[in-house]
Subunit: 345 residues, 2 copies
DNA sequence: AGGTCATTTGGGAGCGCTCCCAGACGTGAT
DNA sequence: ATCACGTCTGGGAGCGCTCCCAAATGACCT
């Protein structure tokens, strides 16, 4: 063995220093990109690192520096089912991509009950991550406030309401819904109904508002008989569609606040003998696999999910960096949606 | 005494010891459940921990003990699209559930290119996790062998071939396919075709084998004209279905090695004027959202995905514990599948 | 010549744990 | 009383880093 004291273990910073003929501090400076190191020394250290195959020990670094180089992605368990596809994996993909050239680690935490939430709360209170990404929290979730309180950098995906104690990244739900309904109206539909999400969800209210604005802007009558409440499930979509058909048999288009509800609605329309899109045009929201595989394929509003994941990381990293430097940069981000036209409308 | 005071910071083990009037070692023993601590002392320490709200510092523990209390879940990027639903989220759910009462952390790593794979290789070589869960590796992936080489505990989901250098958890693909085809034959179908996955994938070969065994067992003719090669995509399913229809127009059932291919097949059948299930019965594999939302809903073979995630963790933890104690317990696990009957067959 | 200042460097002092050894304190046998 | 042998317990010695202070160096001034 060319290096003394190496015997099988991973080389330490100390050994790199010895090998390069410099002090520990200098090696540390090179690794962390500190400015005041002469080029000559830097090169020597870098060669030593390469030759020894040195990789810093994360635990030691975390202990000494008091930071963990890790962020947590927190997902309420329910969401992994509801948003299974493509939301969940899309966000993860974006987050991971944006993290790839950082050397931050991604910790995944599913929270399926109160006990686990408390455990996670304790976890972050103990500062075992540098920041937290919170996926689709519910309106009554105390986590955002807790994080705000203990000064843990955090970013939300979506909003629970208009304002939030921590930064959020969201897509333009109102605008997306509006575009969808404008599209329907633009295709000559005159009696456009909507199936909404549960009204206690902000995202559902936004999509409903988008619908209303489009209807109003087109000068069509605002008719509550054309609005039915769903719950983002297929069964809810069925129920709502039956209500609509009963109340306004003459309707010629339906904007559904989710693809899954659109699938339910489509089934009811089929039973009722209405053809899609000939008799009734259908538009969904989410652009999920369900939309692509429906018959006919469903026009749907696509959220830039992967990009949202990336944006969340960017905002969080800014937040973490800002926190360190004492400044306080709250920056939200709202991304645009896109209407994907298929043959259902 | 620099110990008392420290306002604002998290309490340390040292402070707990002082508060309880014992030594550091004793507190450590209580926390780690070492046997030789008197009940009285244990109680006192536990009270001190509770009263101070002490949470061990993971970095310090990892540094001192040389283990990280974290495992990595590694997913090749391509898979996050292909298996997006429900495989990906199902595994995560199972893994997370099984990990919940451990205090292991779950590190998520997507690998989207060679550079990232090398980085991850370096990462595990530096022993920054205690174990690795590898999702659906490709046949030419060197990661399993690398992990084996450096002695890092690892578990695969699925197999690349018959044997593996590291333990795996898989579902009974052959049995599932067999059950699906038996089901078709049991419903009176006599000309059962199959659309396979790419033959270089072990899972595809298994499902094909299951098909063959069922056909043979039923005493039906083994006819290569009834076997068409797909690639697990919808378009591949379409192409294969057209081939089958051209070669054996009289077929009355098709077993597809994936739901997505079944969706493609279904579209072609519709164009060809064949009714499902009246003229042609259809069965898929995966029991994905696509299956539930097809028209008619698709009979499909369900894999116990969440349970597979749990099993992977159990095997990995055993592996890690075994490694520590010097024993070498290679234990694979193959879980049963279940046929979910819907109206397509 | 001496003084000042910026730049670069070495290494001590921890960070909060676990590991392990030696000591304290029983208990029972001699 | 002495010894042996068990069970508990305290605390020293690290783990591999970062932080920071002081020292060395050299450039430039007075």
């Amino acid at each position: 063995m060319t290096v003394s004291g190496r015997r099988g273990r991973r080389p330490t910073l100390e050994q790199v220093a010895a090998y390069a003929g410099v002090g520990r501090g200098t090696v540390s400076r090179v690794i962390n990109g500190a400015a005041n190191v002469s080029d000559q020394t830097r090169t020597a250290v870098q060669r030593a690192i390469a030759e020894l195959g040195y990789v810093p020990n994360r635990a030691a670094r975390a202990l000494a520096a008091g930071s963990t180089d890790a962020i947590a992605l927190v997902i309420p368990e329910a969401e992994t089912r509801l948003f299974a596809e493509p939301y969940f994996s899309g966000i993860i993909r974006g987050v991971s991509a944006e993290l790839a050239d950082t050397d931050m680690q991604l910790l995944l935490t599913l929270i399926r009950n109160l006990k686990e939430r408390d455990r996670f709360a304790q976890y972050v209170t103990a500062h075992r991550v540098d920041g937290v990404l919170l996926l689709s929290v519910h309106a009554d979730d105390p986590l955002p406030d807790l994080l705000q309180e203990i000064g843990m950098p955090a970013v939300l995906s979506g909003r629970r309401g208009g304002e939030e104690p921590v930064p959020y990244v969201d897509c333009d739900n109102t605008g997306g819904a509006q575009a969808a309904v404008e599209h329907l109206i633009g295709r000559g539909r005159r009696s456009v109904a909507t199936i909404t999400g549960p009204p206690d969800m902000y995202v559902a209210r936004c999509r409903l508002q988008g619908y209303r604005e489009a209807v109003r802007a087109a000068g069509l009558a605002e008719d509550d008989g054309l609005v039915a409440e769903g719950d983002f499930t297929e069964e809810g979509g069925r129920r709502a569609m039956r209500e609509l058909l009963a109340a306004r048999p003459e309707l010629d288009a339906v904007f559904c606040a989710s693809d899954v509800m659109a699938a339910g609605a489509r089934a009811v329309l089929r039973e009722a003998g209405r053809r899609v899109p000939d008799d009734v045009a259908l538009v969904g929201f989410d652009d999920s696999a369900v939309a692509r595989h429906m018959d006919p394929p469903l026009t749907s509003v696509r959220q830039p999910i992967e990009e949202m994941g990336r944006a969340m990381v960017r905002v969080l990293l800014e937040e973490i960096a800002g926190r360190k430097e004492g400044r306080d940069g709250r920056s939200n981000r709202v991304l645009a949606t896109e209407l994907v036209r298929r043959s259902s409308s």
